[in-house]
């Protein structure tokens, strides 16, 4: 079943651009390159974190991989099958291996379906189980994520945010997927609930041998659940590697700045790094050369003219002319 090279997911040079609405038909077409040439390789059982600030293309990346969007360039290979342009039945078949946990547990559950129906939906659509079997499996999954048999008959508005996210996770697991993408799975939840959900996700990974791609802007969450991490800036990966490696020895100035922004309980331990200034540039007109140069404390003339290539040392990728 699995691809010979042991890769679960391979993403090559993925790009997604959106046309910007023109004010007149004579205006030149402009595009937002939300994702601009991203490569990801995920092995079976591995968990990858994706980090970046708002508007950097994290969510677009996830929606492309899930094929809720069709990318404008690149290739997505899931479990040895190219799904970049899959449609209809082929695409639905790919959903068996790949599921999604949504960011907002309030908006992602249909208010008119009971918990058990929501969890059963993927089974109804893609499995050959009978209705009774699917019902039993759905209730079993709800119990696995910590809800009761009685709660299975309730509607989404009768649950708390944390409980709703548990329903979302149970639903994502219904088809025994190999890969679960989670877009900010806990950012909509109370801080007190977050650890519960993250621990549940970690426990399920051990038990079911899942791979995760976790999107977050919270570095602590990435540190807690991920093996590897990719830092995204303006639609490109600027740094990628083992979590311990990247967090302890960040090589890209952007990563360094992100890590420096994390508050530390001990003032003497606070990292000292040049802070980045300004906002994310206008994505319809990204700066030439390295897209980070206007905000980078180390920028030189070279950075303003030439986009840096990604270099790899000991499995730690960085796209910078002046890495540490």
């Amino acid at each position: 079943m699995s691809a010979p090279d042991g890769l679960l997911l391979e993403v090559n040079d993925l790009a997604m651009r959106y046309a910007v609405r023109r004010r007149s038909p004579f205006e030149a077409r402009r595009y937002v390159h939300a994702v601009n040439g991203i490569d990801i390789r995920l092995r079976h059982g591995e968990t990858l974190g994706i980090v970046g600030e708002s508007g950097c293309g994290k969510t677009t990346l996830a929606r492309c991989i899930l094929r809720l969007l069709e990318p404008t360039r690149g290739r997505i290979v899931l479990n040895g099958r190219d799904i970049t342009h899959a449609k209809g039945g082929e695409l639905r078949a790919a959903r068996r291996d790949m599921q999604f946990v949504f960011q907002d547990p309030y908006a992602s559950l249909d208010p008119r379906l009971r918990a058990v129906d929501l969890v059963r939906e993927p089974l109804d659509a893609l499995s050959t189980l009978s209705r009774a079997e699917a019902n039993e499996r759905a209730i079993g999954l709800l119990e696995k994520v910590g809800l009761t048999r009685a709660q299975a008959q309730r509607y989404p508005h009768q649950f708390s945010g944390g409980q709703r996210q548990r329903i979302g996770i149970a639903r994502a697991l219904a088809l025994n997927p190999k890969l679960v993408l989670a877009d900010e799975p806990v950012s909509a939840l109370d801080v007190s609930i977050r650890a519960q959900i993250l621990n549940l996700m970690a426990a399920l990974r051990e038990e079911l041998g899942l791979s995760y791609i976790v999107i977050s802007h919270d570095l602590a969450i990435i540190d807690h659940v991920c093996d590897r991490v990719a830092i995204i800036y303006l639609g490109r990966i600027v740094e990628q590697g083992e979590v311990a490696d990247v967090f302890n020895r960040p090589r890209h100035p952007y990563t360094q700045a992100l890590l420096a922004a994390v508050p530390h309980h001990d003032p003497r331990q606070r990292r000292r790094a040049a802070e980045i200034v300004g906002d994310l540039p206008n994505p319809t007109a990204p700066p030439p050369g390295c897209t980070f140069h206007p905000r980078c404390p180390k920028a030189t003339d070279l950075c303003k003219r030439v986009a840096p290539q990604t270099t790899t040392t000991d499995g730690h990728d960085v796209a910078c002319h002046h890495p540490d």
Partner: protein, 276 residues
């Protein structure tokens, strides 16, 4: 649901008026004091009295009986044409709004063409082509409401398709038709019900208008529209001929509009409560 309706005075008033008209229509054979078609030249053009509560017309027919029987074609045509218009229009609107792209373009162009005609002009042309009969009236008025339903439901489907739970259904591997029937339609239902209620009033008004113009319910069958038409020549001499069917028509329209208004208030915040 019913408890919520009973808490709103607007809803109670609307529901009572609509219920009253429905009862009149259903029970017409038992509650009408006279045969609505029976002619009696001896009692021509009599003012309301103890014998004829709402008076008689030129042919000596009892106005009260005709008015009660006249509720039947109005409500029957209203319900039937709104039902047909809603079924076809909603199907078009759901498909166009959910799929967008070429499906939207192909389905909505004819809809726009139909919408560009004034209601009465289109209705007159259709009835003239088909010939006046109850069945043809229903066909005609249905056809008037198909594009109107399609527009409303399409807008609702377009709003719903952007929601996370529709994406969630796609990720779950649902086929598009299943997504529409399981997720889009149930969540658009509140809007569709409200639209049906409001369009019901419009349909009854169109029926009355066509009957008034002589291409609707054909005399001697009574309908509020043709009673108004028959009475209008003698509106000063025998005002009871036009007043009472006019009042009935007005009350029915007010009833459906109040009900639609109240349903909108009741269904909307509850829906918002469920979404958030």
């Amino acid at each position: 649901m019913l408890a919520l309706i009973l808490k709103k005075p607007k809803a109670v008033a609307g529901l009572s008026l609509v219920g009253l008209m429905l009862l009149l229509a259903l029970l017409a054979p038992w509650i009408a004091p006279y045969d609505p078609l029976a002619l009696d030249p001896a009692v021509s053009n009599q003012a309301p009295s103890g014998q004829f509560w709402l008076g008689t017309d030129f042919f000596g027919r009892d106005v009260l009986s005709r008015m009660i029987w006249g509720a039947r074609p109005s409500l029957l045509i209203g319900f039937a044409s709104v039902a047909v218009g809603c079924l076809i229009g909603s199907a078009i609107g759901l498909a166009a709004g959910y799929f967008r792209g070429w499906v939207d373009a192909v389905l909505m162009r004819p809809v726009d063409v139909l919408l560009s005609f004034p209601i009465v002009v289109l209705a007159l042309a259709l009835v003239a082509a088909l010939g006046p009969s109850l069945f043809n009236l229903i066909i005609t008025i249905s056809l008037l409401f198909v594009p109107r339903f399609a527009r409303v439901v399409r807008a609702e489907a377009m709003a719903l398709r952007e929601l996370d739970y529709i994406d969630a259904a796609r990720v779950a591997g649902q086929r598009p038709v299943a997504i529409i029937t399981r997720h889009v339609l149930p969540n658009a239902m509140a809007q569709i019900i409200v639209t049906c209620t409001v369009f019901m009033a419009n349909a009854i008004l169109v029926e009355a208008g066509l009957s008034f113009l002589g291409v609707g319910v054909t005399p001697p069958e009574p309908s509020w529209g043709n009673m108004l038409a028959e009475g209008r020549n003698n509106i000063l001499g025998a005002p009871w001929l036009t007043t009472f069917p006019g009042v009935m028509l007005t009350l029915t329209l007010i009833g459906f509009n109040l009900l639609g208004d109240a349903l909108r208030d009741i269904l909307d915040p509850r829906l918002r409560g469920l979404h958030s």
